[in-house]
Symmetry: C2
Subunit: 315 residues, 2 copies
C-alpha cells in the first residue's frame, strides 16, 4: 500500500511539472467564481427589484473573471486555498463591474455596447444604471466585511485587504485614473500622463487582486512583495493590450466596437509611443512579471499562464 501511495505521489509530481492545461484551469475557476457570485448575490427586495436586476445584468454579462482568478491564483501561489479568498475574489468582480457601468454612462464614455450586450443605462435608464454601480461597489464591501464570519478569515488580515482594495479602487487608484482619462480626452498628453491613467485605472485593482490573494493565503512579506511587483507589471500590460485591441481587435470577438479610443482622442500607449513600441513594452512587462515569481515553483504556474494570456488574448 505504501508503495502505491508513493507511486501516486510521483505521478502527481510528474503530471504537475508538465505545462498546465490553462484553458481548463480558467474554465474551472470561472465556474467556481460564477457559482460563488450567485450564492453571495443579495436577494431582491420589492419594490426595488429593478436595481437588483440591473446589478445582476452587468455582473453576469460574460466577464472574464480575471480579478477573482488572480486573487485565487495569488492565494494558491503561496500555499493558501481558494476558500480563504472567495468573498474577496467576488467583491473584486463586483467592484470591477461597478466601474464598467459608471464608465459606460453618457456623461463618461457614453458606450452603447459592452461584451456584445447593450450597456446598463441602455437597458435600465441612467438613474438605475448609476445606482446599480453604487449598489455593486457598496455590496463588495459588505461581502468582504462578512468574510470572517462566513469564511473564517482572520479579522486583521481581512481589514488589511479591505484597505488595500479600497485604495486601489478609490481616488488614489481607479477613480483617480478615470478622472484623468476623461479629462485628457482630445487634449493629448505625454507618456507620464498615460502611465498615470493606466497604472490607476486598470493596474491598481489588478495588482490589489493578486496581493489580496497572497495576504489571505498566508504569504510571507517577501512573497507578498514579489506578487505585488508581478501584479503591477501585468496590470499595466493588461491595459496596454486593451489599447492595442482597440486598434487591431476583432469587434465580433470583443463584443464592442474598435477604434473608439482614437475617435475620442483618448490617451493610450499607442497614441503616445506608437503601436510597435507598445507591443514591445507590453512583452517586456510580461517577461519581467514572470521573472518576479521565478522562485515560486509549480504553485505559481497559473500566474505565469495568466501573464502570457494577457498578450495573447483576443477580447
Amino acid at each position: 500500500m505504501w508503495k502505491s501511495l508513493l507511486s501516486l505521489r510521483i505521478m502527481g509530481k510528474r503530471k504537475s511539472s508538465q505545462r498546465m492545461d490553462f484553458k481548463a484551469y480558467l474554465e474551472e475557476k470561472r465556474r467556481v467564481v460564477d457559482k460563488a457570485l450567485d450564492s453571495f448575490f443579495p436577494g431582491t427586495i420589492e419594490p426595488a427589484d429593478d436595481l437588483f436586476k440591473a446589478m445582476r445584468y452587468s455582473l453576469f454579462a460574460g466577464g472574464k473573471r480575471l480579478r477573482p482568478i488572480l486573487c485565487i491564483a495569488g492565494a494558491e501561489a503561496v500555499g493558501g486555498s481558494q476558500n480563504d479568498v472567495l468573498p474577496v475574489a467576488c467583491a473584486l468582480e463586483m467592484i470591477h463591474t461597478y466601474s464598467l457601468i459608471h464608465d459606460d454612462l453618457p456623461s463618461m464614455d457614453n458606450d452603447d455596447l459592452r461584451r456584445g450586450k447593450p450597456t446598463s443605462h441602455k437597458v435600465f435608464g441612467e438613474a438605475v444604471a448609476l445606482l446599480a454601480g453604487d449598489g455593486l461597489l457598496t455590496e463588495a464591501f459588505s461581502l468582504m466585511a462578512r468574510g470572517s464570519e462566513t469564511h473564517g478569515i482572520e479579522p486583521s488580515n481581512l481589514l488589511r485587504v479591505i484597505g488595500i482594495i479600497a485604495d486601489a479602487a478609490g481616488c488614489r487608484g481607479m477613480v483617480g485614473g478615470q478622472v484623468v482619462d476623461v479629462q485628457f480626452e482630445g487634449k493629448g498628453g505625454d507618456l507620464s500622463v498615460v502611465q498615470f491613467i493606466h497604472e490607476r485605472k486598470t493596474g491598481a485593482l489588478i495588482k490589489a487582486s493578486v496581493v489580496s490573494g497572497a495576504i489571505l493565503g498566508g504569504g510571507t512579506a517577501e512573497e507578498i512583495n514579489s506578487l505585488s511587483v508581478y501584479g503591477e507589471k501585468i496590470g499595466l500590460a493588461f491595459q496596454i493590450s486593451d489599447d492595442i485591441l482597440d486598434i487591431e481587435g476583432d469587434p465580433a470577438l470583443m463584443g464592442k466596437g474598435v477604434g473608439g479610443d482614437i475617435e475620442r482622442g483618448k490617451l493610450t500607449y499607442p497614441s503616445a509611443v506608437g503601436l510597435e513600441e507598445s507591443k514591445q513594452f507590453q512583452m517586456a512587462l510580461v517577461e519581467d512579471a514572470i521573472k518576479c515569481i521565478e522562485s515560486f515553483g509549480e504553485s505559481a504556474e497559473p500566474l505565469r499562464a495568466i501573464a502570457r494570456y494577457i498578450i495573447k488574448r483576443k477580447k
Copy 2:
C-alpha cells in the same frame, strides 16, 4: 484636599443634571468632526486634482454632520469615547456626501443648488461629480478599514461595523430607497412605498450611525438593541421633517428651493397622509425614540436633544 475634590464632583454632578447646552454641544462636535475630516482627507495627486477638489467641495459645504455626531453620541451613551469612533464617524459623513452628489446629478434629481451653493456637477461637470461621489464612497471604506491601525479599534468590532454601514448604504438600504424614490416619481403610491423609501433612503444610514457608535463604544447587546430602535425612529422622523420643510421651510435658511417634491410628484409622507398627520406621526416617533433610551441616564442626554432637534430644525 479630599474635601475640595468631593465638592468638585458634586458640582460636576449638579451641573450635568441641568438640561445640557445643546447648541454648544453641536458646535463642539461639529468642530471635532470637521477637524478629523480634514486630517483624514487624502492628499491630492496631480494630475487628478480636480477630483480631490470636487470631493472636498462637497465634503466641506456646510453639512450639519448629523451622522458623525450621532455616531459619537451613540458611543458616549454607552460609556465609550469620541476617539474610538472618529474614523467611522467621518466615513459616515463621506458616504452621506457621496449620496448627495449622486442624488443631485441630472439623471437623478437634477438639482442646481445644495446648501446654498451650486451642486457638484454644476461646478465640476457631470463626469467629475459622478467620480467624486464614487471616490468619497470608496474612501469611506479605506478610512474605516484602517481604524484598527490608526485608532486601535478592535478588528472584529470594526468588521461588524463596516458590514452594518455597507448594508445600510447599499442595495438593501440607501441605494435601494433611492431607486424606488426615483422610479415612483409622478406615479403616486401608498404609505407602504413611502415607508420603504424613507426607511432606506435616509433612515438606514442614520440608524447605522448610532448603532456603529454603540458597538465601538463597547455597548452591551441590550444597549445596542435599544439604540438601534432609537435610530430607526429618529431616522424616519428626520426624513418626514425633510418632507415637511419642503412644504413649510424657508428657502433662505435651507440654502435650496422648496416645493421641489410636489413639483416632481415625489412620494412623501405629506403626499400620502397629509401635512397634519405627518407632523403628529413625526412627534410620536421622537417621543418613542426618547422613551427607548430612558434607562441610559445622563450619558444619553445628547441623543435626546438630537431627537428633539429633528422636529425643530429649520434646515
